[in-house]
Symmetry: C2
Subunit: 198 residues, 2 copies
């Protein structure tokens, strides 16, 4: 029900009182099921991220996909999850930051790279970099999308007034992919230099 309220009315309207109303119950009733609002929001965040946790880990298949592709798949799926529900990126961002949930990217990247000889530390760092990038990007992106859909012009567009030809629609998903590719390349470079040294 919280997930439904979130998507229909947004995070600011996802209050304990509104949720209780939608469930036909008193607000205090929610506190038998959750210790506080943050815990409830963390549970909602986990649901939003479930598709990432349930991704098929292609690490053990016959034709092993490249590390680059694994990283890209993880990043794309994570971004999709965050954009599926209104304010999803904002909600997950804060749940992650407050340590109320773990990023599913880390265990997934461990699985996907367990055949290769890569230090766990490197995987942990790549997972953190990827998670922070995707969540931050999607948060910002979702905000712009929602501002657009309300007819407001995004504040970002006004800052380069002379670049009128490239304002709209081009600064979108391509940039996201390029950022993912940069992280994947950096990961591979780190793998190379560590296996060279070790």
């Amino acid at each position: 029900m919280a997930l439904r309220l979130l998507d229909e009315h947004g995070l600011p309207d996802l209050t304990m009182r509104n949720l209780a109303d939608a469930l036909g119950v008193q607000p205090s009733a929610l506190y038998w099921h959750f210790p506080n609002k943050q815990a409830l929001l963390a549970a909602v965040s986990a649901r939003i991220l479930a598709p990432v946790s349930e991704m098929s880990t292609s690490g053990t298949t016959i034709h092993a996909t490249s590390v680059h592709d694994q990283v890209r798949d993880l990043g794309d799926t994570l971004r999709e999850c965050l954009l599926t529900y209104r304010d999803g990126a904002e909600l997950v961002s804060s749940s992650l930051a407050f340590g109320l949930i773990e990023s599913p990217v880390h265990p997934k990247l461990l699985e996907a790279t367990k055949d290769a000889d890569i230090s766990e530390r490197l995987v942990r760092i790549a997972a953190a970099t990827l998670t922070h990038y995707v969540v931050g990007y999607a948060f910002h992106e979702q905000q712009r999308l929602q501002a657009d859909s309300l007819g407001l012009l995004p504040a970002d567009a006004e800052l380069t007034p002379e670049a009128a030809g490239e304002t709209a629609a081009h600064t979108g998903a391509d940039d996201f992919d390029a950022g993912i590719a940069m992280i994947a390349d950096g990961f591979e470079a780190a793998i190379r230099s560590s296996s060279t040294v070790g």
Copy 2:
């Protein structure tokens, strides 16, 4: 005054009412100076990020530092700013996401790379990647630091119970640097492949 309240009592206590009290004024008085609370918080965020905007751009000096070092300097300085004030990372994260301020990393990285022959698109993507990574990392980090200082054990530590020897203090600033290095390497790889093609 808002900056002082933030650092002394944290973001949840930085309310219009508390700020008005600290200024010896009625809450409604603040609405003559700022249209709403978000605008006020955006102004505070800009102050927190000021040291990044005021960094000396070493791009025009005689001995040009490497792109790798430029990225590292920017990332380190940004992280320092965010950790300087209590809840600084959280505040800046939301101001950035809502488009109420711009990341100072983008213009700085443009300055620093303007002598080299690097496409503006690549610089924009590297700046976005770096910003999202550093802000997300610092947000999470600051939360853990503050939980620690309150005597609470961070939730993250309990998830790998067998890894008792590596729990504390090692998963810290080194990992941050390694993430920055990964982004810098990915940036350089992208520069190489674009100048090869172009």
